[in-house]
């Protein structure tokens, strides 16, 4: 039976043999098998398996031709190809080692590759615009009004810089907003941008259909036109090229479409549906209103330093050129400054810090993986030390030996790297799929050639390092000792043991550091989530509407529409409270209006600077769940009778009127009349939960009688569900809006919970990545510990056998192994804790309300790691106790 199988195997292998030799070759093998089966007949099948390699060898040598006749240079036998094959075979002969090493390395290398790809795409690669490294953003930091405050340009300032800055080839301006589209389908609210032509030129915009803006479109008298984004064109107009030239109803106005932008073209950091030209009037009076987003292109030969210097000089001249808008008091109080920054720096923002930290974490994992495998290689090298010695004695030069082991190491690591890169590609797909919005450029991440090259190079270097171990061990003194000890079945001398232990300790230390970092971040996250936002987000649905001047020509009409909608919403049984505001907490940006205080009551100069101002309706505080702590909130009468009542947040009250109650105090905006504070409310968190409390002054929708501030056309509504659940509120809200005006689109329907969680996105994302790295570190640590302890136990079988034979109980042997492992773990723990304390201050920027050396976290991590180490060493330790002393003693 076995013979038949063996013969069949040989026939299969014969396919490889060149046809002219095949018959002979098969006959030779079948004959040998026949004789084998007549003899002891052991392992015919195994022997037959060798036929494949034999056939392959015949094939190689038949094709390759003979070396010159009479040549006795056998050196050529040790070709790279042969060594490669040998190395491969050696690896497959110890499958346990190879499997563990490959899994460990590919995890480590894969994770590193994935994060490198992210770092490369997000931080290093240039933005997708032509010559993107020459693009710059201009803005005005105003630290006098807040540490991180930065404003856009004013219109007058924009022209001023455009004329004066020679270091810029182009300077463009834009601002974003929203418009209603009411033709060709359901009314929809589109995100829009008004931009001057240089913006599109600087960004290298091209069109799929039609044209982009030209300078003529920027003239103040020119007609309005629309440029559609590619996404909008496909989504709403079915990619119909005929849309160019058609008129769209935008905010009640008929606007012709002049073109469609190329696919993939975006404003940096924003997805915008439609572009309009921004027809700025050069002659218009200068105003102290800074909302212009400016982008420019550096002139050839110019650099950021020169541009910054020019802008600073020009900024200093603003008060002399526009004294009404840029008063000296304003300039010194706000500490008005100028700044030119690389576009990429602006886009990437502070994500860089988080990414580098994650990269460091993953780097630690890779180092752990390498330490792990190094340990395994070391132990395995000791086991093969005899083979090394004999090879060396048989004349294999040190170079040949070196090359052989080097190949083995490199084969291992490069193979793992290939697998790792595949894993990285998968991981990136998963990462992008669950990527939260707010991480810039994540959709651009790919495993680039650079990443693959770096990882490959790392693999080769590491593999070479691994390969060096057996060579280093084959020095003559060690050689003799090893050979002799090989005869007695003991493991290598103290030097090697120390290295091995050192590697284990290092692994544990690295794992501690990684876990501690993750633990701290997890606690941060926990604290962040528990922050009192100052309002109740649960059960609140928000949406936005915009009232265009065509349908609502004056302030009265706007106010009437808001009042009607609010009344209609509050009348619904599903809604407990409804309110409106021009900007929600957390998602609002820095917007301020200059406010002047009534002098007799203010403690400082009459100008209060530029505090945060919000326009809200009555019912707003109830809808969001903001507590009124003194006085009252807004009532409808404030709007009807234009009482001029305002409400201050607690921090604002402390800021403007410290030490006394703010109720009754006055403040005014642009007009002459003073508004009076009627109440104080609890603070809400500003942009992002980790921002501090922002002082806010709340104004009513209707201004004081006799004063006019522009009507608030774009409002965000917040409705609190009576039942506590927001499901089912959406149709109710749509119905209410449709009743007020069927042409009004409802936009940005989101629950407050969603908005809150989105603000924590950066921390969440980083935490997720660190958590994954930690889990991998734990896995690698476990596998490593298990692998090494197993191997060493197997090597020391003899010693265990002796001990057991001499009367030691199994438990004693187990205990011995465990004690060794635990001692190493404790050493690693100590080192790791020191390392953690030294390095976690680097995490400070990502931590929230948690000290970098939080003792509770460190204690938990230590306990976890100790438990893991004991677990990993347990199984091999038990196996040590079950060694049969007779077998162990007999084996060589």
């Amino acid at each position: 039976m076995k013979l038949a199988l063996a013969r069949w195997i040989v026939r299969l292998a014969s396919v490889l043999v060149p046809p002219e030799r095949r018959a002979d070759w098969v006959e030779e093998w079948q004959a040998e098998l026949w004789y084998e089966s007549r003899g002891r007949g052991q392992g015919v099948v195994t022997k037959a398996m060798g036929a494949f390699r034999a056939a392959w060898a015949v094939r190689r040598y038949a094709r390759g031709g003979h070396p010159p006749a009479g040549s006795t240079r056998i050196q050529g036998m040790t070709t790279m190809g042969r060594d490669f094959g040998q190395a491969l075979r050696a690896l497959t002969r110890s499958p346990g080692f190879t499997l563990v090493a490959v899994v460990t390395l590919s995890l480590g290398l894969g994770a590193t590759a994935a994060i490198l790809a992210v770092v490369d795409s997000v931080l290093l690669r240039p933005l997708p615009y032509p010559e993107a490294d020459r693009l710059v953003r201009l803005d005005h930091p105003a630290p006098g009004y807040g540490e991180d405050t930065a404003w856009g340009l004013s219109v007058a300032g924009y022209f001023h810089f455009r004329e004066g800055m020679t270091s810029l080839d182009e300077l463009g301006a834009w601002y974003q907003g929203q418009v209603n589209l009411t033709s060709e389908g359901d009314p929809e609210r589109l995100s829009s941008v008004a931009a001057t032509t240089p913006v599109l030129e600087a960004l290298g915009a091209t069109t799929a259909v039609g044209r982009t803006f030209v300078d003529a479109d920027d003239d103040p008298g020119a007609p309005n036109v629309a440029l559609l984004s590619h996404d909008l064109w496909v989504r709403r107009f079915g990619a119909d090229p005929g849309v160019v030239g058609r008129n769209l109803q935008i905010d009640g106005e008929a606007v012709p479409v002049i073109g469609v932008l190329a696919p993939g073209f975006e404003l940096p950091q924003s997805d915008v549906d439609v572009w309009f030209p921004w027809r700025l009037d050069h002659e218009a009076e200068a105003q102290n209103s800074h909302y212009v987003q400016a982008i420019g292109r550096l002139a050839p030969g110019a650099d950021l330093a020169r541009a910054n210097e020019e802008m600073a000089r020009l900024t200093a001249r603003l008060p002399e050129r526009f004294p009404a808008a840029y008063g000296d008091a304003f300039m010194s109080e706000s500490r008005f400054a100028s700044r030119v920054r690389d576009l990429r720096e602006v886009v990437v923002g502070d994500v860089g810090a988080a990414l580098w930290i994650v990269l460091a974490g993953v780097g630690l994992v890779l180092v752990m993986a390498c330490a792990n495998v190094a340990n395994l290689v070391l132990v395995r090298a000791e086991a093969r030390s005899r083979e090394v010695a004999v090879r060396a004695a048989m004349g294999a030069s040190r170079r040949a030996l070196g090359r052989y082991f080097l190949l083995e190491g490199i084969l291992l690591t490069v193979g793992s790297a290939a697998i790792g890169l595949g894993l990285a590609a998968l991981a990136i797909d998963a990462l992008v799929a669950m990527s939260p919005p707010g991480i810039p450029r994540l959709d651009e991440v790919r495993v680039s050639l650079l990443t693959a090259f770096v990882v490959g190079l790392a693999a080769v270097l590491v593999g070479a390092g691994f390969g060096a171990f057996p060579i280093l061990q084959s020095r003559s003194r060690a050689l003799a000792r090893l050979l002799g000890e090989g005869g007695r079945g003991r493991t290598a001398g103290r030097g090697a043991v120390r290295v091995r232990n050192g590697l284990l300790v290092a692994q544990v230390a690295l794992a501690v550091m990684l876990l501690a970092g993750s633990g701290l971040m997890a606690r941060s996250f926990q604290r962040l989530a528990a922050v009192d936002a100052g309002f109740e987000p649960a059960g609140v649905l928000t949406f936005q509407i915009g009232l265009s001047s065509e349908g609502y020509p004056d302030a009265a009409a706007v106010y009437e529409a808001h009042r009607t909608l609010l009344a209609r919403l509050e009348a619904s049984g599903m809604i407990a409270a409804a309110g409106a505001t021009d900007a929600l907490p957390i998602s609002g940006g820095h917007r301020c209006i200059t406010v002047t205080l009534e002098p007799e009551y203010a403690s400082s100069a009459d100008e209060a600077g530029c505090p945060q101002v919000r326009f809200v309706s009555p019912g707003y505080f109830d809808a969001l769940g903001v507590e009124v702590i003194e006085g009252r909130g807004f009532v409808e009468d404030d709007n009807i009778s234009q009482t001029g009542a305002i409400v201050a947040s607690r921090a604002m009250a402390d800021l403007l009127w410290p030490g006394t109650s703010p109720v009754g105090r006055g403040a005014r905006l642009w007009g002459p009349g003073f508004y009076r504070v009627v109440g104080v409310v609890e603070d809400v968190r500003g942009s992002g939960l980790d921002a501090g409390e922002e002082p806010i002054l709340y104004f009513p929708l209707q201004p004081l009688a006799g004063e006019g501030y522009p009507p608030v056309r774009g409002m965000t509504y917040a409705v609190r569900s009576a039942s506590g659940s927001t499901v089912g509120l959406v149709p109710e809200v749509r119905a209410a809006v449709a009743e007020v005006d069927p042409r009004l689109p409802v936009a940005a329907l989101r629950t407050m919970d969603e908005i809150v969680s989105r603000s924590m996105v950066r921390t969440t994302f980083t935490l997720l990545l660190m958590a994954i790295a930690s889990v991998m570190a734990l896995l690698i640590g476990v596998v490593g510990m298990y692998g090494v302890v197993s191997y060493v136990v197997a090597q020391r079988r003899r010693e265990m056998g002796v001990r057991l034979a001499l009367g030691a109980a199994g438990a004693q042997v187990t205990g011995m192994v465990l004690r060794n492992a635990v001692a190493l773990a404790l050493a690693g723990l100590a080192l790791g804790l020191i390392g953690t304390v030294a390095t976690t201050r680097l995490l400070r920027s990502l931590l929230f309300a948690v000290s970098p050396t939080d003792p509770a976290t460190l204690a938990a991590v230590s306990a976890l790691l100790l438990a893991v180490v004991i677990l990993a060493a347990w199984v091999p330790a038990r196996r040590a106790a079950r060694v049969d002393p007779v077998v162990a003693l007999r084996a060589d």
């Binding site: 398996m49 060798g50 390699r53 004349g395 003799a480």
Partner: protein, 110 residues
């Protein structure tokens, strides 16, 4: 005959050649006597044959069939093969002096 430029056979190849000179001529016999698997021995034989150190021949067909068994292929060293093997053995002898009796007794000299 000139001294071969370098007589470094791979260790396994030397084993195989040595086995051959000791009279083990068939593939499977060489496997047993050297302790190497078939996947190693046969490629070595192919290599040695390709470089002219060894030649292979069928044994006498009539005799084999007459005795009711299949004919076997046997291998023998060529002149070049003998020379190469001799050089390798000399080198080995020089080097193994380092071990003294260690190879026989299995323990280090000290």
């Amino acid at each position: 005959m000139s001294e071969p430029e370098s007589a470094t056979l791979s260790f396994n190849a030397a084993l195989v050649l040595q086995g051959m000179t000791r009279g083990h001529r068939y593939g499977f016999e060489l496997m047993k006597v050297t302790g190497l698997p078939s996947g190693t021995v046969y490629p070595i034989l192919a290599r040695l044959e390709a470089t002219g150190l060894v030649r292979s021949r069928w044994e006498n067909e009539e005799r084999a069939h007459g005795e009711g068994r299949p004919r076997r292929r046997y291998y023998e060293t060529t002149g070049a093969g003998e020379v190469t093997l001799r050089a390798a053995l000399e080198k080995l002898a020089r080097q193994s002096r380092l071990f003294g009796d260690a190879l026989q007794t299995g323990s280090p000299v000290e």
